[in-house]
């Protein structure tokens, strides 16, 4: 099995030591999902650098820590964004953060999307729900170097029109040359003019050249499972398929074992994997 090199930017941060970061702004994307904008400090003279797909551990002092993917543009590291679903104690407290307040940040951690490997190829990005957040840095990077890639297709599924993230940007991206943005929801109302149905239905509307296509997936595991089946059925070579996995992470450096997935640790070996790295475990129970 060929392993993808794990690209981790060199930082001088102690990976176990949170550094204080000031909150700049909180923007609500949906009823229960918000984006936290923050300014990282220039620790040891180095700017905060990250690669698309990496995540940070966000620590609310005295409350707890959560692993959240970075959802901003890697070329703008002076203002980083995390899009967060408010579901538990830590994320609820984070959602109430005010400008100027500090939280602790450890990171960035983990592997990244294969942007270099995709050069010269068409790229299909398939996102489900909040899975669009870890893919947004990829999209920024692809759009910035548009000429290095063939067609770029974003297929995005959400529960309802009100659950769509980054609505203004979706509209802007759909107007870019050589970029197709296809959005679907599981349920719509009479004001929704877009597609209704599961994200895999969208493959009927796009043309694919499988040997020349790189696919990047992030969303609920069951959504990724069906998307992988569809891509496989359409002849996409499995080594062209990459996905971001989610498990409960604690230490983020592969010590604690909370995010173990078969022989891998999602935090250290992932979260982005090529599918052949995971194929023997993916979709199996109790892993």
């Amino acid at each position: 099995m060929k392993m993808e090199p794990v690209l981790v930017p060199q930082t001088s941060f102690d990976p176990m030591l949170p550094f204080p970061v000031a909150i700049r702004r909180t923007t609500w994307e949906t009823d229960d999902t918000f984006t936290l904008l923050m300014e990282p400090p220039a620790a040891d003279g180095a700017r905060f650098k990250f690669l698309p797909g990496q995540f940070n551990m966000l620590y609310v002092f005295g409350v707890g820590e959560v692993a959240i993917s970075i959802s901003s543009d890697p070329q703008k590291p002076n203002l980083i964004a995390h899009t967060i679903h408010r579901v538990g104690t830590v994320t609820t407290v984070l959602s109430r953060s005010k400008r100027g307040e500090f939280i602790g940040v450890r990171g960035p951690f983990g592997s990244s999307w294969p942007i270099e490997k995709a050069k010269g190829m068409d790229v299909i990005v398939v996102a489900g729900g909040i899975g669009l957040a870890p893919l947004r840095p990829v999209l920024y990077s692809l759009f910035r170097r548009r000429k290095d890639y063939g067609r770029i297709v974003l297929m995005y599924g959400a529960r309802s029109p009100l659950d769509l993230l980054y609505r203004v940007e979706l509209e802007q991206w759909s107007k870019l040359d050589g970029v197709d943005v296809v959005v679907t929801v599981d349920r719509g109302d009479s004001s929704w003019k877009g597609h209704v149905g599961v994200v895999t239905n969208l493959f009927s509307y796009i043309k694919m050249d499988p040997p020349a296509t790189m696919a990047m997936l992030c969303g609920p595991e069951v959504m990724m499972k069906f998307t992988i089946q569809e891509l496989e059925r359409r002849g996409l070579p499995l080594e062209h398929l990459h996905l971001s996995m989610e498990r409960n992470m604690k230490c983020a450096v592969g010590f604690c074992g909370h995010c173990q997935y078969g022989p891998k640790f999602i935090c250290k070996d992932g979260p982005v994997f090529s599918f052949p790295q995971l194929s023997q475990f993916f979709g199996k129970g109790e892993i």
Binding site: H85, G188, S190, K193, H195, V196
Partner: protein, 159 residues
């Protein structure tokens, strides 16, 4: 549009593209060209179901009136897809309402005509049912996936 032109159109639609010449001739006899403007209804829930639509361009939404919850769009059908099989099964009534959400160009096939020809020519009938079964299987699978409500149970962290 003349019948011979319709066969050209039908040859380009994925549902009928590989139909043999004899069956294509039978099908053309049941076919008409049709357009709908954005917002126009193709049919309403409870009405007599007498058509199979082959969508060429545009998008159609299937809707259901869900009482206090209002109108719910449960599915959209787009280019290269088909819409409607209630014409095939008694009592031939639409179960949902279909509304164009973009300007739509389609071929409609007369349901009664298709049923009659299928009864007369069982090979033709089998061919039609085989194609419809593939679509039904695909839709059933998609509906089951939709029922999973996968985005409703996201735990939300590290995303």
């Amino acid at each position: 549009m003349q019948p011979e032109d319709l066969s050209v159109v039908l040859c380009k639609h994925p549902f009928t593209s590989d139909l043999d010449e004899i069956h294509m001739k039978l099908l053309v006899g049941c076919a008409s060209n049709v357009t709908f403007k954005d917002g126009e209804f193709l049919f309403h829930e409870g009405e007599s179901a007498d058509r199979l639509y082959l969508i060429r361009n545009g998008r159609v939404a299937l809707e259901v009136q869900a009482g206090e919850r209002g109108l719910i769009r449960i599915q959209t059908v787009g280019p290269g897809e088909i819409l409607g099989w209630s014409w095939l099964i008694s009592p031939y009534r639409w179960h949902f309402t279909a509304c164009a959400v973009e300007n739509v160009r389609a071929i409609w096939l007369d349901g009664k005509c298709l049923r009659t020809k299928s009864e007369t020519d069982h090979d033709f009938g089998y061919e039609m049912l085989r194609r419809l079964a593939l679509v039904l299987e695909h839709r059933l699978e998609a509906t089951r996936r939709q029922l999973l409500d996968v985005y409703g149970s996201e735990i939300g962290v590290r995303r």
